[in-house]
Amino acid sequence: MSTKTAQSRIAGTLPEFLYTDNRVIFVESIIAVMVVWALVAHGLNMTETIASPLIITESTHALLMSGDWVVHFTATFRRVMYGFILTTIIGTILGIVMGMSDFWEFALQDYITIGLAMPSLFAAIFAAMWFGISDITPMVAGTTIAFPFLTQNVYEGVHNIDNRLLMMSSSFDVSRKRVIKRVVFQGVLPEWFAGARYSFAICWKITTLAELVAASNGIGYMIELHLNALSLAGVLTWTALFTITILIVEYGILQQIEKRLFDWRQESGMSMMGAA
């Protein structure tokens, strides 16, 4: 493609590692953000309001050191976990039911559609109306918004189970229990995992939203606090901490689990289902 020749023309003039080494590229990426950030701040003449990267790094560091963040992080995390557990239970069960039964799929499909489209704010506010300032509010809000995603992933996974494997099992007289465990469950696992991961991310975000609406502690609560004080630095600091945490969970923990769980999937070109 022509981009390749363009790339190689430019590339020819630069030392190679600048555009091939992953870590270097990552750094370039970050530098670009910093530069743009600084430019925007200056450009909009808002060097005070759009706090510079340096200020944020400092205040983030300070916050970490002070230990004030612990209370709020644990609160938020606790609520996320409650919501996520509930989401997993409801989403998985519903997904399997809808996957195995035409009737239930058609009956509940519209609710899934609505659930997917529902503005999260609605869930947060209505949960707040019913449950006030408590751990239940973020949990219910998170579950309501997140479970349709998991449900959909799971029932698609069930639909996608290779029928030929079921027939093969049948011809070898494998018991239903074994088929469910070794074929259905395993077959659905990748889709379930993708859905669970996505739902987890959603739970995080809805939880903080619900905290903003009705809570007395937590990350969302702190962000609102700083917002009301018009402290951009405060908002950005808490956002930074929050984002870093999520990144650690996503790429540190979840990706590792994914690798272990699915090491049978290779990038070998032809996958089992794709070939003849």
Binding site: Q7, S29, I112, S120, L121, M129, L166, G220, L232, I246
Partner: protein, 269 residues
């Protein structure tokens, strides 16, 4: 035994009419609403007809339209902005290895930052202008668009492109007859998600970055404890959303996926 063409052997499927099932589902929903409304105090859970009455009242009094319009307008701009940014990013990431590795951190971080954070930031920066909710939406939504477009670009088969070249097919024709149809399902996914996420973020942003709009009104009703009103606003907006979903999105979805014989209608919800 194993001759059923779907489902597990020996698990009998209840084959039924789609519409009977859907009706059944609808009835359960209504029944549940009624049940909850009876159990809970009136303002927490109004009956369906009460909500409809109130909603109609809002429409009649002329309050509904300006707010709906504002929210939809912001959604529209947010959607446009995130689509432009997302498509650009996605295309680059798909074509060029360097771009992919350069932009991935942006996408990753973009996916992790909660909407309220962006909304808070843009509120402080832009105040009450329309830029606040729109920019917050763009920043939250673009990663989803980018990822889907990226997958679409990656999905292009180099073999088909080489074949086209060997027949000396013009760029323009390739774009129209090969590239766009090949990427169409992914493009559709991106826009569809982009739109849905846009209205979600706009409503969130409106709770502090605006003085009008559905999100704003909803929050207002909540804060003055007029919960039935909150229900009315929510219902109005949901009706609009469903109108868009079933009236616009689903028909297009059917067209886009027609040629795939394993029509994955469920894929995009």
């Amino acid at each position: 035994m194993a001759t059923s063409n779907r489902g597990l052997p020996a698990i009998s499927l209840i084959k039924s009419n789609t519409w009977t099932a859907r009706l059944f589902g609808l009835l359960i929903g209504l029944a549940a609403w009624f049940a909850l409304a009876t159990v809970f105090p009136n303002d927490l859970m109004p009956y369906p007809y009460e909500t409809i009455e109130l909603a109609w009242g809002l429409v009649e009094s002329g309050v509904a339209w300006p707010n709906l319009r504002d929210t939809l307008l912001r959604t529209f701009w947010g959607f446009i902005g995130s689509s432009l940014l997302g498509v650009a990013l996605g295309v680059f990431m798909g074509i060029n290895n360097y771009s992919q590795r350069f932009f991935t951190p942006y996408v990753v971080i973009g996916l992790s930052v909660p909407a309220i954070a962006w909304a808070a930031v843009t509120t402080i920066v832009y105040g009450f202008s329309i830029m606040a909710p729109v920019v917050a939406t763009v920043l939250t939504t673009f990663p989803y668009v980018a990822i889907n477009v990226w997958k679409g670009v990656e999905n292009l088969e180099p073999n088909l492109i080489n074949m086209s070249r060997s027949f000396n097919i013009s760029r323009r024709r390739m774009l129209r007859r090969l590239i766009i149809p090949s990427a169409a399902p992914f493009l559709f996914s991106s826009f569809r998600f982009g739109l849905a996420i846009s209205w979600k973020i706009v409503t969130i942003a409106e709770i502090f970055a605006a003085s009008s709009g559905v999100g704003y009104k909803l929050m207002q009703s909540y804060q003055v404890y007029k919960f039935e009103e909150a229900w009315a606003w929510a219902s109005l907006f949901i009706i609009v959303i469903l109108g868009i979903e079933y009236g616009i999105i689903k028909p297009i979805e059917r067209r886009v996926f027609e040629y795939r014989h394993d029509a994955d209608f469920a894929l995009i919800g």
